[in-house]
């Protein structure tokens, strides 16, 4: 008994997406593998000042920038003399709906209203749902949120249940699905049925919405410290957060490094019914972070406006136990109770600060709200109930889905660097043995944040040689 046919929706996918976004993505395609990203980003016609005024009108943005003085001092206890950068946090938990996602939703919902759509739909199990619902409520649009929520035994992730509650609190209809990538077809079917606007996380609207966050960080840090931050650390999943923040930052200043941070969920399959409830993070993890970094065009739009490799200087992973540790530290030392997933970047910043000079500045680019279900106690309790062992020890020994290992000291918070060239090689893998045109080289230099054609050739040589000699 199916309510739609996958084959039929697959055939009509482009027509449905065109109607629901208003964007004809085909006009941005170049010859060969590339497309004109900057032209796509001009689609809305809004400059950053316009986006700022749209958000201000909707009570979005302008969140406090907080210096985490105690966490800085705590990090310095484990650093060499003269080391330990000042750690600042952009407290996005104080944004409308409790996260930076309100910035993304604001531009989409504003555009949908202006274009005369009756409602908006978003496919999201995360904070973005609450953000779209809240903004839709504010401008008087209907809203449907589609979530992946339950495993086949009808057991839900508590964090996702909480987000459903938040969406419903803002008047949205929430459709909760069991595990599986076919969520996309339910989503397409709903767009087709309702004629609502596709408030995709990956549209130019959504990414433009985050640019104000980067811009605020740049200007506020400079005002506060009279210097530019050495690094901005961004929790990375779908890639939009890093892309938008970096783009906005560079509209004010240049020269800062953008560092991605994800929770390490190595070995857990994101589309697996069995693995679904064995993870303690439903976002900000490598299960989204890696695939969306190496292939951004896997989302609910033909070309994603979230292209993190273009702006990423380095990428670190951190284990679940270390993020829970730092979440508790944030409450115990700073009096800030914030949701765990958003603290992924804080855990990474805590370690990186220890290697940097004392007068340097490092920015944790967001926090998120916390509550029943999405709280470290709820999530650790849920992990134990699902047979995951929670213990203290060496974080490097954590096996996602089997154990959560909490460090026994701030000194033991552990991060791992992912070599950027490994990510670039994974990006290039589908083009094995391909010869690129000049236009394609230019596109790839932007996509991979490289400056010389020979760098691409070197990476391609490694890609082409893989599996040879077997």
């Amino acid at each position: 008994m199916s309510s739609f046919s996958i084959q039929d929706l697959e055939k009509r996918k482009h027509e449905i997406l065109l109607k629901s976004t208003g964007i004809d993505y085909s006009q941005y395609e170049d010859e060969g593998i590339g497309f004109s990203y900057e032209n796509l980003m001009k689609y809305t016609g809004y400059d950053i000042k316009t986006v700022q005024s749209i958000q201000k009108e909707l009570n979005v943005g302008g969140t406090p920038l907080i210096e985490l003085k105690n966490i800085t001092k705590y990090a310095r206890k484990f650093a060499e003399k003269g080391k330990g950068a000042r750690i600042f946090l952009k407290d996005e938990a104080q944004n409308l709906s409790g996260s930076f996602k309100a910035r993304r939703a604001a531009v989409s919902v504003y555009a949908a209203k202006k274009q005369g759509f009756k409602g908006v739909i978003a496919a999201t199990s995360g904070n973005y749902g609450a953000a779209v619902a809240a903004l839709a409520a504010k401008v008087g649009l209907k809203c449907i949120i589609v979530q992946e929520c339950f495993d086949s035994k009808n057991k839900a992730q508590p964090e996702i249940i909480e987000k459903a509650r938040a969406c419903e609190a803002y008047g949205a209809e929430v459709i909760q699905l069991s595990v599986g990538p076919e969520l996309f077809y339910t989503f397409l079917h709903l767009l087709d049925e309702t004629g609502y606007f596709n408030a995709s996380l990956y549209s130019p609207h959504s990414i433009q919405g985050i640019e104000t966050l980067g811009y605020e960080i740049a200007t506020e840090i400079y005002k506060e410290t009279n210097r530019r931050p050495s690094a901005v650390i961004v929790t990375n999943a779908g890639g939009g957060n890093l892309t938008g923040t970096a783009r906005g930052y560079y509209k004010a200043f240049s020269g800062t490094k953008f560092i991605a941070a994800s929770v390490n969920l190595k070995g857990l399959h994101m589309a697996s019914d069995e693995d679904f409830n064995r993870k303690s993070f439903t976002t900000g993890h490598t299960g989204f972070g890696f695939p969306f970094t190496i292939n951004p065009d896997r989302s609910d739009v033909p070309r994603s406006a979230a292209r993190p490799l273009r702006y990423m200087d380095s990428y670190y992973t951190v284990n679940q136990g270390s993020v829970f540790f730092i979440t508790e530290v944030l409450a115990a030392l700073e009096g800030l109770e914030r949701g765990p997933a958003g603290n992924t970047s804080l855990a990474v910043a805590f370690r990186l600060a220890q290697k940097m000079d004392k007068d340097e500045v490092i920015v944790v680019q967001e926090s998120e709200y916390t509550g029943a279900g999405k709280h470290h106690q709820a999530q650790l309790s849920f992990a134990k109930k699902n047979g995951v062992e929670v213990k203290f020890g060496k974080p490097e020994q954590e096996i996602p889905g089997k154990s959560i290992i909490i460090p026994t000291s701030g000194k033991e918070v552990s991060i791992e660097e992912i070599p950027m060239n490994n990510l670039r090689k994974s990006y290039l893998k589908p083009y094995k043995n391909k010869r690129f045109t000049t236009l394609e080289y230019i596109y790839l230099l932007d996509e991979l944040k490289l400056s010389k054609k020979s760098e691409i050739d070197d990476l391609m040589q490694e890609v082409n040689n893989e599996n040879q000699g077997r």
């Binding site: 996958i6 086949s152 459709i175 309702t194 589309a271 019914d273 849920f382 213990k391 203290f392 000291s409």
Partner: protein, 101 residues
């Protein structure tokens, strides 16, 4: 239990049978159906666990098995987790020193 017209309820639909699921998904997902849960107001009176028609808050009309009448949220902050108290103790002692000495 007869549920009256206009009651706010939660229903469940089978979206895809196991046989209709996508090709490239893990075995554990492929062998189970894709289900959906939706909330709304009863359009006719109906029995719990039987097929009913509802109108959602956006005005969509949806059919499925009636699973819950006047659904509530039951998610919590979880059970007591002693590890959290231990983390707090670790960071407080490392930061402030042992104030109980």
């Amino acid at each position: 239990m007869l549920v009256p017209v206009g009651t706010y309820v939660r229903i469940r639909q089978y979206v895809l049978d196991a046989s209709e699921r996508s090709e490239n998904i893990p075995e554990s997902t492929k062998k189970v159906p894709l289900k959906a849960w939706v909330k709304g107001y009863m359009l006719d009176e109906g029995e719990l666990y039987e097929n009913v028609k509802i109108k959602t808050v956006t005005g969509r009309i949806v059919e499925g098995e009636l699973k819950e009448v006047e659904p509530i949220y039951t998610h919590t902050y979880g059970d007591f987790v002693p590890e959290i108290f231990r983390i707090r103790k670790i960071c407080l002692i490392e930061f402030w020193g042992d104030r109980n000495e």
